[in-house]
């Protein structure tokens, strides 16, 4: 049912408020740096307030889309402006709305070289438009526009404010993702032409994501497999899944701190979200065929990412590789195609966003203090900056999946789900994956504790004797506290998130199994 009154404006506000901020910032001269910061903060906080409104007025009992708006947009191809959220998109949307203002706060005194807060903050706001838009879009073309919109600001963030190899990393990021997107849009086109919208009560050719699961049943098996392949490339590169991940370590290593945080916390989730929101429900049969393959790549990613971590000498690059491993658990959970697995995947997405985002924050702050992240040169953090050392320790523990912190509830249910995949999927194959994924937890503990031992334990190195190493600064404390608080609270009481996702995911899996199981 379409929303009325203010509710009809909520999601549009969530998406376009940051754009309004960008426009205001355009009108203010570049020199007024403080004003720019205030505008950016104000806008993102206002957007977060919209998020609060959503949290309060969201109907937690239903699996239906809420705050739905359906307006005509590009009539020529019947692309419509359809937005709406359910339990799958809501957590991601809220995550994005919370993370962005925290990034702005962190940037308050941390605008990376070459400065220019106006451009930097405007890009963050633009990024938020794309991210929020992707999570609320219910029309494939609208989704695609937002999905692509994200690329540009991130490209510039890496390319302008990044490390020494920034140009290479930025272009690689941009074109690698665009390459996947090109295949994805071809698949969307194929859906448009092949799916029979009249079956779902809309026009014959449609991009309406609500209608497509039914409409796409008209598509033949082979065609379905190919269309899925196109989408797979688009989403898998974004996740990123092995072997399409090589853009990630470069992008993460070179990106400015806030860029890395946003990349890890939100951008990677656009891929996994796409699988859950688009690929699985629209083409369940093809997904079913592809699932063992996806699960296989996921577990390869788990082990491979962990091995990659063990070979690193740079802290930021190590965290980047750990993302590949962690997203492997998410993809493994998705590939089971069960309610259980997809719930775990969404939990894993949120948990990874919070935890890895936090790791990148700490890495960024260390880089600012030491001007290097070479693990061999760090050490004794607990001694020189005890609070920072504790925060890093806690986040490390969260990242290696310690129960009581959020990481565990993404990882363990993923392993649990893969013992019992959806009917028709090979139990032998998925149980093998389960064991491999369980082995991955050991490697995760290995590289994370090794990292922690080398950076935080021991005595500080001689070379930093005369360097002033500040402990956690106020802006850091403000921007980090919600991350830490969230992964502790979700770790102790995971129901906060599972209760939100479960109804929508159950409905999704019902839809899938009605087609794929039959």
């Amino acid at each position: 049912m379409d929303a009325t009154g203010f509710d009809a404006w909520v999601l549009s506000l969530a998406v376009f408020l940051p754009l309004a901020g960008v426009i205001v910032m355009m009108l203010i001269p570049k020199q007024e740096e403080h004003t720019h910061k205030l505008v950016a903060l104000g806008t993102t906080l206002a957007t977060a307030a919209v998020g609060l409104y959503i949290l309060i007025n969201y109907d937690y009992g239903t699996s239906e889309l809420q705050f739905v708006v359906d307006e005509s947009w590009i009539d020529a191809i019947n692309a419509r402006f359809i937005v709406g959220i359910d339990g799958i998109s809501m957590p991601m949307l809220i995550l994005s709305m919370v993370v962005v203002p925290l990034c702005v706060i962190y940037s308050w005194n941390h605008i990376p070289d070459p400065g220019n807060p106006k451009a930097f903050l405007a890009l963050i706001l633009l990024l938020e438009v794309g991210m929020n838009g992707t999570f609320v879009a219910q029309d494939l073309i609208l989704f695609f526009v937002f999905f692509e919109l994200v690329l540009l600001p991130m490209y510039f963030m890496i390319g302008v404010w990044g490390g020494p190899e920034r140009q290479y990393a930025a272009i690689k990021f941009f074109l690698f993702t665009l390459f996947g997107s090109a295949l994805m849009i071809v698949s969307f086109m194929a859906l448009y032409f092949l799916a029979d919208g009249t079956a779902a009560g809309v026009t014959a050719n449609t991009f309406d994501m609500r209608a497509l699961p039914l409409a796409a049943q008209a598509i033949g098996t082979t065609a379905g497999l190919w269309i899925f392949a196109g989408m797979f490339m688009g989403f898998a590169i974004k996740v990123p899944m092995f072997p399409f991940h090589t853009w990630l370590p470069d992008a993460h290593t070179q990106a400015p701190t806030v860029g890395s945080v946003l990349l890890a916390a939100i951008l990677l989730k656009l891929g996994t979200y796409g699988f859950i929101r688009i690929a699985l429900p629209i083409l369940p049969e093809a997904a079913h065929e592809w699932a063992p393959f996806i699960g296989g790549l996921a577990v390869i990613g788990i082990i491979y990412g962990a091995l990659g971590c063990l070979a690193q000498t740079d802290m930021k690059r190590l965290i980047a590789f750990s993302s590949i491993a962690h997203m492997g658990y998410v993809m493994l959970a998705i590939s089971t195609m069960t309610t259980f697995g997809i719930n775990a995947a969404i939990f894993g997405m949120v948990a990874h966003g919070l935890i890895t985002g936090m790791l990148f924050f700490v890495a960024g702050s260390l880089k600012e203090r030491y001007h290097t992240l070479e693990i061999a040169r760090l050490g004794g953090l607990l001694k020189v900056a005890p609070k920072m050392g504790w925060i890093l320790g806690l986040t490390t523990m969260a990242s290696l999946g310690l129960p009581g912190l959020a990481g565990f509830w993404g990882e363990f249910p993923a392993i649990l789900a893969s013992y019992n995949p959806a009917p028709g999927l090979s139990e032998e194959v998925f149980r093998t994956y389960m064991v491999i994924a369980a082995i991955g937890t050991v490697l995760a503990a290995g590289y994370l504790l090794w990292l922690y031992q080398r950076t935080a334990f021991g005595e500080p190195k001689e070379e930093w004797k005369d360097t002033q190493i500040d402990d956690v600064l106020p802006t850091e404390a403000i921007s980090w506290a919600p991350f830490i608080g969230a992964f502790i609270v979700l770790g102790i009481y995971p129901a906060f998130l599972f209760n939100v996702t479960d109804p929508a995911v159950s409905k999704l899996v019902e839809t899938i199994s009605a087609v794929a199981g039959g």
């Binding site: 140009q167 290479y168 272009i171 690689k172 074109l175 690698f176 665009l178 390459f179 090109a182 295949l183 849009i185 082979t222 065609a223 190919w226 196109g230 090589t246 853009w247 491979y304 091995l307 990659g308 063990l310 070979a311 309610t339 259980f340 719930n343 004794g380 607990l382 001694k383 310690l402 129960p403 009581g404 565990f408 363990f412 249910p413 392993i415 649990l416 013992y419 019992n420 389960m434 064991v435 369980a438 937890t441 050991v442 490697l443 503990a445 290995g446 504790l449 090794w450 031992q453 334990f457 021991g458 005595e459 009481y493 995971p494 129901a495 599972f498 209760n499 479960d502 995911v505 159950s506």
Partner: protein, 704 residues
């Protein structure tokens, strides 16, 4: 309290938070015990109240009150479910006895997912009641002891905070209502152990030890994760409850194969947590932590978590490993091997704590072996007595080291201490005798029960293993006593002194317990509280067989112990026997080398496996990543550029040139600009992108 048992872990958890929040402000950072000790005191009292109420509940039920318990008539059906084993020659098998009382279960919904409820709650029965008493008692004593022992430590607050957190996690684990909760508690005690082993993290040896502990446990946790996942799904996939899983293991819901796989997986976790061969290597290294921590975590409580888990999920192991069949099985074999492997290693150590660590390994082996031979009650009984005398020994070792300038080296810094620290000497000796299992101390009763059950239950081999282990135990403890307390003082740091009362009082209490704890199940005197109150005799639990106190077994064990004691006395005190044999005899020397190198297991793990993963495997994976995968991406880009150039130069310029001359030069111009900005890669990727899109589009046209 039976209903509100959640308070028991909650109080130390709150204590943890309070210490973190305010600890540093009390007495300039030296007052955290002012929160920790009272909190533990309350926890201890609540545990005792719970135990008292449990005993009352059992008594009420046995006096005919059927409101709590099952009717005695239910015994008839018991026989069909449990498979009692009857010894050869039709020895008399006693009727099923023990507590027939239903446990008190309280749960809350933790989270739900796909229609499955995940609960969190408490399961109070004899087993958990006994464990909470052990954990809270030892933890309280260790708290008191620590307030003296780590006085003035630079991280005093931090130390007490984690002591509290550990206690909370351990109690949470013990009271767990379901296996998922057990996993959570299991990991949390592990992380507390990690933090406390590495308490003095400035020194890399300490952090290496804590890493090793954590990593070895993680290896075992693979088995834990896999095991609980298998149990959950194959028991129906609806409930995590321990009661449910146990029932499903016995009533045939789970096939024998499933149970076997689950039991073997879980054994990996047991081996890592409870120091069973070959995953025991972390435990001696864990002695790098403060001594009270070793007493609490690495002797009395955390390391028995594995034993406790087997006892909790006994039907799974009982059925999966066919324990009733006799002969040999994985659990018994692992335990038996550990008894001897650990006992032998204890001889090659000069560090008093390491001797005790290997002794702990060996004693944990007894418990696991006992579970493997069907001696459930004996295993739990031994867990109970061992907690007291081993904690006493560790705290005694701490007291000794307190006097000898924080050294633990028996050969260099000790000797003759009995004159300087009589209280420590006497309590240490009493605890040692209990460990040796000599009548009438606690160890005698519990060890004897293990041996009897092994001997009578078709596990003769393990009777001999146990006896040999007893011989070793006595001998290495005699060596420790000789090196530490007798002879001349060898230390060079001045005269040793007796420790203050906050150290000696816990020692005395533990020494008293080391003597008396065994009488709770001294069957020869007609006391069998372990059986009456702790043993689980309800239908969904294997029928546990008890054998009468056997004078011959007790006599043999005592004789073995006394022989060992006599031989050690002659060897150490009188200087008789082949001293220096390991220097002269080649075989003896080789044997000693194997022991000194701890069976070369550390070399295998660190030198071969860890190094193998870190160096060749990780390095080659990364090489593959950079050269092959990334190389492919870059090559694709480069190829696209050259084909683009080719097309441009030969097709565009030569063929289409004339028609689009103006447009072409404009494109070239902008292409140059872009190339300047983007180091030439944009075009490569751009052509790659559109090439790929074209290919897929063509495929669609062809296929559809």
């Amino acid at each position: 309290m039976l209903e509100n048992a959640f308070l028991i872990p909650l109080i130390p958890a709150l204590s943890f938070l309070l210490i973190l929040a305010f600890g540093k402000r009390i007495r300039g950072g030296q007052g955290a015990h002012l929160i920790g000790i009272p909190a533990l005191g309350v926890t201890w009292i609540l545990s005792l109240v719970t135990a008292y109420q449990w005993v009352t509940r059992v008594n009420d039920a046995n006096e005919g009150g059927e409101e709590h318990g099952l009717a005695r008539g239910a015994l008839a059906s018991v026989g069909k479910i449990g498979r009692a084993f009857v010894g050869e020659g039709g020895e008399e098998v006693e009727e099923r006895h023990g507590a027939l009382v239903e446990p008190v279960v309280k749960t809350l919904n933790w989270w739900s997912n796909a229609g499955i409820d995940f609960e969190v709650g408490t399961l109070v029965d004899g087993l958990s009641v006994m464990l909470i008493v052990v954990v809270s008692s030892i933890s309280l004593l260790v708290h008191v002891y620590s307030s003296e022992y780590v006085k003035g430590d630079r991280r005093y607050t931090h130390y007490f905070a984690f002591l509290s957190l550990f206690t909370a996690a351990m109690l949470f684990f013990v009271l767990a209502e379901n296996i998922l909760q057990m996993v959570v508690g299991w990991e949390l005690v592990g992380v507390c152990s990690f933090v406390l082993i590495g308490h003095w993290w400035e020194d890399q040896d300490n952090t290496n030890a804590s890493m090793k502990a954590f990593m070895t446990n993680r290896v075992g946790d693979i088995g834990l994760l896999v095991g609980v996942v298998i149990l959950f799904w194959s028991a129906g996939g609806t409930s995590w409850s321990i009661e449910h899983i146990n029932a499903a293991a016995l009533d045939g819901t789970m096939s024998h194969l499933v149970l076997l796989v689950a039991a073997v997986s879980l054994m990996a976790a047991v081996a890592s947590k409870s120091g069973q061969v070959p995953l025991h290597t972390w435990l001696p290294d864990a002695m790098a932590g403060p001594t009270p921590v070793s007493a609490l975590i690495h002797a009395a409580t955390m390391v028995v978590a594995g034993v406790y888990m087997v006892a909790r999920l006994y039907p799974v192991f009982y059925e999966g490993l066919s324990i009733s069949a006799g002969g040999i099985n994985l659990t018994a074999a692992a335990g038996g091997l550990t008894v001897i492997a650990g006992g032998l290693l204890a001889f090659a150590q000069n560090d008093i704590k390491k001797v005790l660590a290997y002794s702990t390994i060996s004693q944990l082996g007894y418990m696991v072996m006992a579970l493997g031979v069907g001696a459930w009650t004996a295993a739990i009984f031994h867990l109970f007595t061992h907690a007291f005398f081993k904690a006493g020994l560790f705290l005694g070792a701490g007291s000794v080291s307190h006097a000898c300038h924080h050294s633990f080296d028996m050969k260099k810094d000790m000797g003759g201490l009995r004159k300087y620290m009589p209280r420590t000497f006497i309590t240490f000796t009493i605890s040692s005798i209990a460990l040796m299992g000599i009548f009438p101390t606690a160890g005698f009763w519990s060890k004897d029960e293990i041996l009897v059950t092994a001997g009578e239950g078709g596990y003769k081999l393990f009777l001999y293993v146990g006896l040999f282990g007893a011989f070793l135990t006595t001998a290495y403890m005699m060596r420790v006593i000789w090196l530490t307390f007798f002879g001349e003082h060898r230390g060079t740091h001045g005269e040793p002194h007796e420790s203050p009362s906050r150290i000696t009082v816990p020692l005395i209490i533990l020494a008293v317990a080391s003597v008396t704890a065994g009488f709770v199940n001294a069957t020869v005197f007609g006391v069998s509280w372990m059986t009456d109150y702790i043993e689980n005799a309800r239908p969904h639990f294997p029928v546990l067989i008890h054998h009468d106190f056997s004078w011959s077994a007790a006599g043999t064990a005592t004789a073995v112990g006394l022989t060992a004691a006599a031989l050690s006395y002659l060897y150490f005190w009188r200087g008789m026997g082949p001293h220096g044999l390991t220097q002269r005899n080649k075989v003896a020397k080789a044997g000693y080398n194997v022991l000194e190198n701890k069976y070369y297991l550390d070399h295998l793990y660190t030198g071969v496996i860890v190094k193998g993963v870190r160096e060749p495997l990780a390095k080659s994976a990364y090489w593959f990543n950079q050269k092959v995968l990334d190389g492919a991406v870059d090559t694709a880009g480069r190829t696209a550029v050259s084909s683009g150039k080719f097309v441009y130069r030969y097709i565009d310029q030569m063929v289409v040139d004339g028609a689009v001359n103006g447009a072409g030069s404009a494109a070239e111009g902008s292409g140059e600009v872009l190339r300047g900005v983007q180091t030439g890669k944009l075009q490569q990727y751009g052509s790659l992108l559109f090439g790929a899109a074209t290919v897929l589009a063509i495929l669609f046209v062809i296929l559809i």
